[in-house]
Amino acid sequence: MKEMRVLKFQVNDPFYNMALDEAVAKSVGKGISPPTLRLYGWWPRAVSIGYFQEVMDVVDMEFCKNQGIEIVRRITGGGAVIHTEGELTYSFIVKDDESIVSRDIEESYKQICSPIINALKKLGLNANFRPINDIEVEGRKISGNAQTRRFGAVLQHGTILISLNYNLLRALKIDVEKFKDKGVKDVSKRVTTLKELGIEISREQLSNALIIEFEKSFNMKPIFIDITEEEKRITIELLSKYKSSTWNFRR
């Protein structure tokens, strides 16, 4: 049985979080590190924006500044996300060689979301995949996911909302056009959280549930080891990129 490295749940600052995802992708892509499931949280709170987004279009900078919310651009496309202590983030990183996930990007979102859906089902929720990259419960988004394929790796990271202070959504400028095809106008009606659905669970507990389901879905045995010295070194190197305005405000 193939092994899946699990990087246990840890809370880090936003820039470190994005730097480590990239460092692991580089290492997995080269075949140095095994397929990896990483579980993490964010502190301080942050807005992450998609690779192609214009920061001024999607972030309320003034609000973020006043609230101490950091801003970081992701290596992945997709939309802006507010990351708080009520969210579990995961990343799943494998070699881009078809042995674990499909070459077909839309299909692979479904594949990688399926263990998350199964974990939510075990909690008694009627969760389903909503193409292209969302997971919904009762028609509301509970998980958003984004993927890149570079450095010879597939990297998918995503969020699962446990709870959310909806006031913090003011950090995001959301175009009214965005939900037009989903029949809602207000972002707070587009999303839901485990808490709202009556489930009290910690990020650590939810992490454990995900590990079990990823093991089953991909038939890989979890091994609990830390990142390598090389990954640590690359992460530190990449920190300056993710902290820089050249990267974060490049568009």
Binding site: G50, F52, T76, G77, I105, I132, N133, A146, Q147, R149
Partner: protein, 88 residues
């Protein structure tokens, strides 16, 4: 500046900002919550479109995308063309 915006049905949001002079694209920014693989292709496309007449965008984008084997997720080439052509 011309701005074009489109929410692709069942897909993503794409927004373009264009500086044009006498029908020629001088500067262009293609932004949104879509996915492009490889990601750098969008910057290359922006660069490629500079100097191209707006009415030639359709053919040129198609050439660029096919030649470089770029994968778009959440929007199609036609959506991109439409949002550029429809910008005001």
């Amino acid at each position: 500046m011309r701005i074009g915006i489109k929410k692709v049905e069942g897909g993503k949001l794409v927004k373009v900002k264009i500086l044009e002079e006498e029908g020629i694209i001088k500067e262009i920014r293609i932004a949104g919550d879509f996915f492009v693989h490889p990601e750098e292709a969008i910057e290359e496309l922006e660069e490629f479109l500079k100097g191209i007449p707006l009415n030639k965008v359709r053919d040129r984008i198609r050439e660029f995308m096919n030649e470089k084997k770029i994968r778009l997720v959440g929007l199609k080439i036609d959506d991109l063309v439409e949002v550029i052509e429809g910008s005001k």
